[in-house]
């Protein structure tokens, strides 16, 4: 019996360890976090509002809960009312160094007033490219 439980626990741990799909925290459906980034990122809040009167603005406040400096690779994607992604430099992949426990706010303004929704992808640069979709660059 003990052996069976041991085997099951090992299998469960192995499966958990092999998980490479980006996670979508249920609390913040706009966020997509890569498996590596998930291990050290602590999300404090997702904020949204408007800039320049009619341009959607979104941001995420986070910090690095590990004891080592990390580099975060992130991208904001913007979508129109029909769900099509909008082009623009606000949809570039960018990088942000994260020192331990230092709160960081990353925010962007939508490229067009047509933007009605957004997605924020947060990945570690070491996550294989196949897991993080390639962005469009203006």
């Amino acid at each position: 019996m003990q052996i069976r439980i041991g085997v099951l626990a090992t299998a469960a741990l192995a499966l958990w360890g092999c998980q490479t799909q980006p996670q979508q925290p249920t609390q913040y459906p706009q966020l997509q976090i890569g498996p590596r980034a998930q291990s050290y990122l602590q999300i404090e809040a997702v904020q949204e509002g408007y800039a320049s009167s009619n341009l959607l603005r979104a941001g995420v406040r986070l910090y690095n809960r590990s004891s080592q400096e990390q580099t975060l690779r992130y991208r904001f994607s913007w979508f129109d009312a029909n769900g099509f992604e909008l082009k623009g430099m606000a949809g570039r992949w960018e990088q942000q160094p994260l020192r331990p426990a230092e709160p960081v706010m990353i925010d962007r303004v939508a490229p067009s007033p047509k933007a009605v929704s957004y997605r924020i992808q947060l990945f570690d640069p070491r996550t294989p490219v196949a897991n993080s979709t390639q962005g469009i660059d203006g």
Binding site: A51, N54, E94, D137
Partner: protein, 205 residues
């Protein structure tokens, strides 16, 4: 020369050629936003994209291009000076800013007015169509060029510094200003610094 020697020489030559071809680095297409983008000491496309993106984000969040009368701003591109050691076309920066501002729906850029004449010479050529006998004048539209209300100017600066004997720090500063042409006041200004640390043997021009 014996046939055996000829064969050996031919084999050696084929091997050398094969090795040379095998060692040639393959040309590959770099995907946008890839993590393995090469970093150069000089200015590259990603540096211009970073500077332009920062400028547009700063402009839009500052409220400098907001209008309450429902009209759009009309911008003219003034001078963007290249004060670096590299031969660069500052349009690489300006074009990205123009495209993103146009997409934002806040700013249109005039191509008919500029310090060195019209950017698009066709605007002036079109004015001469009404004098031409070859053109059906009923199809010629009377031009009324829109005057700009704001001007974009700036400067790109480079500073090189030796660090620890064998390293060099290259700093680039993208300085941009938006001027209200009705009163000559700068309504928005910002600077994007891009700093690169690399071998002192490398060149940045």
């Amino acid at each position: 020369m014996s046939p055996r020697n000829t064969l050996i020489k031919a084999l050696a030559l084929t091997t050398v050629l094969g090795l040379a071809a095998g060692c040639t680095p393959q040309t590959r297409l770099l995907p946008q936003g890839g993590v393995d983008q090469p970093v150069t000491m000089g200015l590259s496309g990603s540096d211009f994209a970073q500077a332009a993106s920062d400028a547009v984000q700063s402009m839009l969040t500052s409220g400098a291009v907001d209008r309450t009368d429902g009209k759009k701003n009309i911008m003219v591109v003034s001078t963007v000076l290249n004060d670096t050691m590299q031969r660069i076309d500052t349009d690489q920066l300006v074009k990205k800013i123009r495209v993103d501002l146009l997409r934002s729906g806040k700013v249109l850029t005039t191509t008919a007015i500029g310090l060195n004449g019209a950017e698009d010479k066709m605007t002036q050529a079109y004015a001469e169509l009404s004098q031409s006998r070859k053109v059906d004048r009923s199809t010629v539209v009377r031009q009324r060029l829109a005057a700009p209300n704001m001007s974009l100017s700036g400067k790109i600066i480079q500073r090189n510094n030796r660090v620890d004997g064998n390293k060099q720090l290259v700093e680039y500063y993208f300085q941009l200003t938006l001027t209200d042409l009705s009163n000559g006041l700068a309504i928005w200004e910002d600077e994007t610094p891009i700093r690169k640390l690399g071998s002192a043997k490398g060149t940045s021009w």
